[in-house]
Symmetry: C2
Subunit: 447 residues, 2 copies
């Protein structure tokens, strides 16, 4: 086992009134709450009651595929989490932000600010924005190539890490008598001159409590996995079977040593959409209620976006048409392959595929009792497929409340999950060491 | 009188532990609070107790002139105000953000998010970032020319306004039974194709409570005034004398008609740094305590930055050397001219000038009793030099508390200031009409 303390980690991935695409139509939700910051604050407090490691918001810099039926994002994640920080105390706050359409200085600064105002609870889910709709909002005529997006991400994170280090620990002096605010010898220019970015620094923010946000990544393409192996401290991933989960886990962990990292430095968190009820039959019936509310015209458009293929007029009761190889895709490669495998492996019709994807857009869905959900998590955790889980409640707040009140206590009784927070920072929750500072911790060349 | 309701408006400009550059060294402050979000939340609540229209944070995308002695910004304004929104209910929240170093889609979205999560209290102080240090952090070798920065700002605001309009009021349907989230006929692409930006839209956020943030501007150069006349709804300005204030006020108001705007559509808010005490002598003595704590080496560097001229080795007890014309300045033109006039008009030595600038970097400082401060504000307001004021407490929180508890009640007794909030949005506080929507309110061409 490579797990620290044999306990698992849990992130709550929060989305509107639930991950299921028809959640907002079900009587267990109230659709208008997607617009209400108090709804998200309540979700964060529920997750914190469960002692979860973190909450997380995804993002997309464009309107969704089909605005008529798409419960749309209202809040930008960094601002939303800034508004959640004051009403929570311990839980980590992970925001998605794109390296393709921001500037490193401004984004590094926003995350430093979130880390300051949450007292060390900020995390950054690094994305490269793989949709055409996003490219069109930032002056491009097409999606920038996958490899170019990752090359930019690489430089972006490199600059950002240097900026976060630019104020050493102890740079703040705050000596009012002598009038010395900071020690200029501990505040460093970074003088970054790369292919895409030139940034002098230092960052316009003293070092934040964690030094920098927790770095999170979610792409599972070859580029994505290499990027994760170099930079990520937590990885969200969609894996449908235990065997696939184990293979992905091993693949990612095996890449770490090449980058001078230990296996514990990166936590693998597969996604799970849990439908929870007193009996398995009730849980399955609940899931079917949601599936029955899917609008096929919306689901077809969403599927078309995932595959980069217009399926809106395609017959529902036939299998998918032949799909190209992942190498031909410039958008979201790993999601493409996942959907392709899901459909091919079980010979699903388009209608069946839409139902399977409805819960979590490619993430694994499981309907069962609290014990069954806990058993499943334990199997993946002990089976070397996960360091923890990215829990994606199909409806909110109820699906999160059920997980926290019914599944978490079982995991706690089994010794698999904390009963109290033992750390104050997001890095601490995930069992990660403090971030070293390249300036303060550098060994002098002449030592 | 052009004032609506004959009542004035008050913005609290909050900066660290006070606007006076030596505030952090004075026993009335605690320097470490610059790092504490709770400090800024407390300031916002004090301002809200005083029924002030808004609070405001400035920003600069680089470290200050002299990190050793410069009490440095910690928080990015949009994230900080997002963390203040949950602990306040009514007061407006104005954040500075640069048009030179952001992308319009991302920034428009961040402000929409702040407006949503504050229920209609967001404001944007639009700046073009006139320092070399900022340019170096965003890939430039020098400050982009003043005129080019303003041309970009013009396009930027144009795109942003179209994006904010892209979801008409009523676009959200939220019909769970029919599965209709939004009315696609009321969600519009903007297809912006300008010299600098190409943005398809729509914005990835339904229309926010105010439609868009209140637009605020603070540059007083010719470009700045024209920009304000076209776009700004509130203007922060530094004016040293009543006559200068009246001239600036008239100049700005006279420009509005050319852009189809009424005088009430733009509120002029001169800055004031008030030292408040029981007697005038005590207030003057208090101001002198702060002046005495100024570090000349820091003040000289700051003055050098304002003037674009190295004065760090210049003798303190001589007048300024001859200064070029504003037209030769590519940085912050209006601040340059203000300092030049302040020094020349009163034949100040550099040491005296540093003392004058210590309170508010060119903003007017006034030491007096609460009655004297109130008299002064009333004189400017009734004298046609102000629609309200940008109050810059020299030390915090005490200087704000004194203003709210001692000056505001006098203004209220005189009928010059509200005793309760009568609106729920920032626009409402400033007496501005709701923002029309270009799509919803357009008269059909064939009507």
């Amino acid at each position: 086992m490579t797990h620290d303390n044999n306990t698992l980690h849990i992130n709550a991935f929060l989305m509107g009134v639930g991950h299921h695409e028809a959640a907002w139509r079900h009587p267990r939700t109230e659709a208008h709450r997607v617009l209400d910051v108090a709804h998200y604050q309540e979700l964060a407090r529920i997750a914190e009651r469960g002692r979860l490691d973190s909450i997380f918001f995804a993002d997309n810099l464009a309107v969704g595929a089909y605005v008529k039926r798409n419960v749309h994002t209202v809040f930008e994640p960094i601002t939303l989490l800034s508004a959640i920080a004051p009403v929570t105390e311990k839980i980590g706050l992970i925001a998605t932000a794109s390296t393709s359409y921001h500037e490193p200085y401004a984004l590094a600064r926003a995350f430093a600010s979130l880390d300051h105002l949450s007292n060390g609870r900020a995390g950054w889910n690094i994305v490269t924005s793989g949709t055409e709709a996003e490219a069109f909002n930032f002056g491009y005529d097409a999606i920038p190539e996958h490899a170019r997006r990752y090359a930019r991400a690489e430089e972006f994170v490199d600059v950002a890490e240097q900026l976060w280090d630019s104020w050493e620990p102890g740079a703040l002096v705050l000596d009012a008598d002598e009038g010395v605010f900071a020690d200029p010898g501990k505040v460093h220019a970074v003088d970054y001159a790369g292919e895409r970015f030139r940034v002098r620094g230092p960052l316009n923010s003293p070092r934040s409590p964690q030094g920098r946000p927790l770095l999170v990544q979610a792409g599972s393409s070859e580029d994505g996995k290499e990027f994760a192996a170099r930079h990520a401290e937590a990885v969200f991933t969609a894996q449908q079977t235990l065997a696939e989960g184990q293979a992905f886990y091993r693949d990612l962990k095996d890449r770490l040593a090449r980058h001078g990292r230990a296996e514990g430095d990166l936590k693998v968190l597969p996604g799970l959409v849990p439908f929870i009820a007193d009996t398995e039959a009730e849980a399955v019936a609940l899931q079917q209620e949601f599936t029955g509310l899917i609008s096929p015209d919306y689901a077809l458009r969403q599927l078309s976006t995932m595959l980069g293929l217009d399926l809106t007029a395609y017959p529902l009761d036939r299998p998918l048409p032949p799909l190209p190889d992942e190498s031909a895709v410039e958008g979201q490669k790993s999601r493409f392959t996942l959907v392709k495998q899901l459909a091919a492996g079980r010979e699903l019709t388009v209608r069946q595929l839409i139902g399977e994807l409805g819960g979590g857009r490619g993430h694994r869905t499981l309907a069962g009792t609290p014990e069954q959900i806990a058993d499943d998590l334990e199997t993946w955790f002990r089976g070397g497929a996960a360091d923890g889980f990215n829990i994606m409640p199909p409806y909110l707040p109820g699906g999160l409340t059920d997980f926290v009140e019914r599944v978490v206590p079982i995991l706690q009784r089994r010794g698999l999950f904390r009963t109290e927070y033992t750390a104050t920072t997001l890095r601490g929750h995930y069992g990660l060491a403090p971030v070293p500072n390249r300036f303060a911790d550098a060994v002098p060349a002449t030592a």
